[in-house]
Amino acid sequence: MAEEVKLFRTWSSPFALRVVWALKIKGIEYETILENFPNKSPSLLQYNPVNKQVPVLVHNGKPIAESLVILEYIDETWNQSPLLPDDPNERAMARFWAKFGDDKVLTSIRSVFIKQGKEQQEALVPAMENLKFLEEELKGKKYFGGEKIGFVDLALGWLANLISILEEIVGLKVVDEEEFPLLYGWMRDFAEAEIIRDNWPPRDKMIVKFQARIDAAIAASAASSSSSK
């Protein structure tokens, strides 16, 4: 029975990268369909009519959307190289931290980089608190998953690439090696891991993309603050 696995993604989506990493860790063959946003393919819209987003995994014709949902599906369908631990409490912790990454870390880090001046200083406070929780969680471990890369590492992996890009664009050090030695070390170890390092999107292209995003966000907030005066 031939397994047909397709992954709809964009060249830069960090959420889609999670799925790429998971498929590679498990050694699963798959076909990539590269979407060219904002023009979304009819296939993508058919497979994910609700959110119209990437990533979408299509396994034997059945689509699954939402990267963390896809990761759990992959882990339950292909049992080799498990992403989640066996113990229910440890699994709960992994799911908790992955959700924390998306709900809190991602949004607070984004705030820091799209703001300026005093607002940026204020945005740094919750961002730093969130990073401290991650630092704590790494105590005694090489990866969030322990000795090996696991679910939480894949969920937080975007940090290992995007942070240095944003820091370069904005000229602000957020994950300082002295302040966050474990997180800094994890970012380096994760980025250089064999499965991971060949899949990063081109750095120069990322810098262009995020420079444009930051500029647009700053312009938008300047426009809205001047119109509300």
Binding site: E66, V69, P88
Partner: protein, 221 residues
């Protein structure tokens, strides 16, 4: 002995902690319930959930678990009888996808409808109704999202009950039999279920809760 020392920190009007009550009752797990006052959180809660300082928190044999869907999966994996998630990985993925949709799309819209007025509120109502149509697409002809008996997604969709009470309290029309017959039918079955109906806030108190908290913003339309 898996049942040893199960505690649930929650509040009477939170759909999130009520989800956990459903899961525990479905599995017949004995637990101690601690009602929190969110304006004066207990040291125990802050100790067990230092990251979010929120309910619900489940504590099992001294180890805390937070975030309602994470807790539900933990309960399902620890007490394996009367499963909440289906066995098939694809169906599990569908349940998780729609549960996420409910918390990330439906819940914010449901909160927004209570604090908006006029045209803006009408827009939010349209949005919620479209979201519920999407959910109907997932339910189709099934008795519950989980099939013959309720499961993960039915429990996650308990927020719809809160919306229905709110609409009654505040004189709004969002979910009705005419517009959303499939979901309406599902809701009646859910509210008639022996386990589920024990895990919703008492109706009168819940109606008052919405009237007191949001009544004035609707009345000023």
């Amino acid at each position: 002995m898996a049942e040893e020392g199960v505690k649930l920190f929650g509040t009477w009007a939170s759909p999130f902690s009520r989800r956990i009550e459903v899961a525990l009752k479905l599995k017949g797990v004995e637990y101690e319930y601690i009602e929190e006052n969110l304006t004066n959180k207990s040291p125990a809660l802050l100790n067990y959930n230092p990251v979010h300082k929120q309910i619900p928190v489940l504590v099992h044999n001294g180890k805390p678990v937070a975030e309602s869907f994470v807790i539900m999966e933990y309960i399902d994996e620890t007490w394996k009888h009367n499963p909440i998630l289906p066995a098939d990985p694809y169906e599990r993925a569908m349940a998780r996808f729609w549960a996420k949709y409910i918390d990330e799309k439906f819940w914010p819209a449901a909160k927004k409808v209570l604090v908006t007025k006029g045209e803006e509120q009408k827009g939010v109502i349209d949005e919620i109704q479209q979201q519920m149509k999407n959910l109907e697409g997932e339910l189709k002809e099934k008795k519950f999202f989980g099939g013959e008996s309720f499961g993960f997604l039915d429990i996650a969709a308990n927020i719809i009950i809160w919306l229905v009470v709110a609409q009654e309290a505040l004189g709004m029309e969002i979910l009705n039999e005419e517009k959303l017959p499939i979901l309406h039918g599902w809701l009646q079955r859910l509210l008639n279920d022996a386990v589920f109906k024990e895990c919703v806030p008492p109706k009168e108190r819940h109606l008052d809760f919405f009237k007191v908290k949001f009544g004035s913003s609707i009345a000023s339309k």
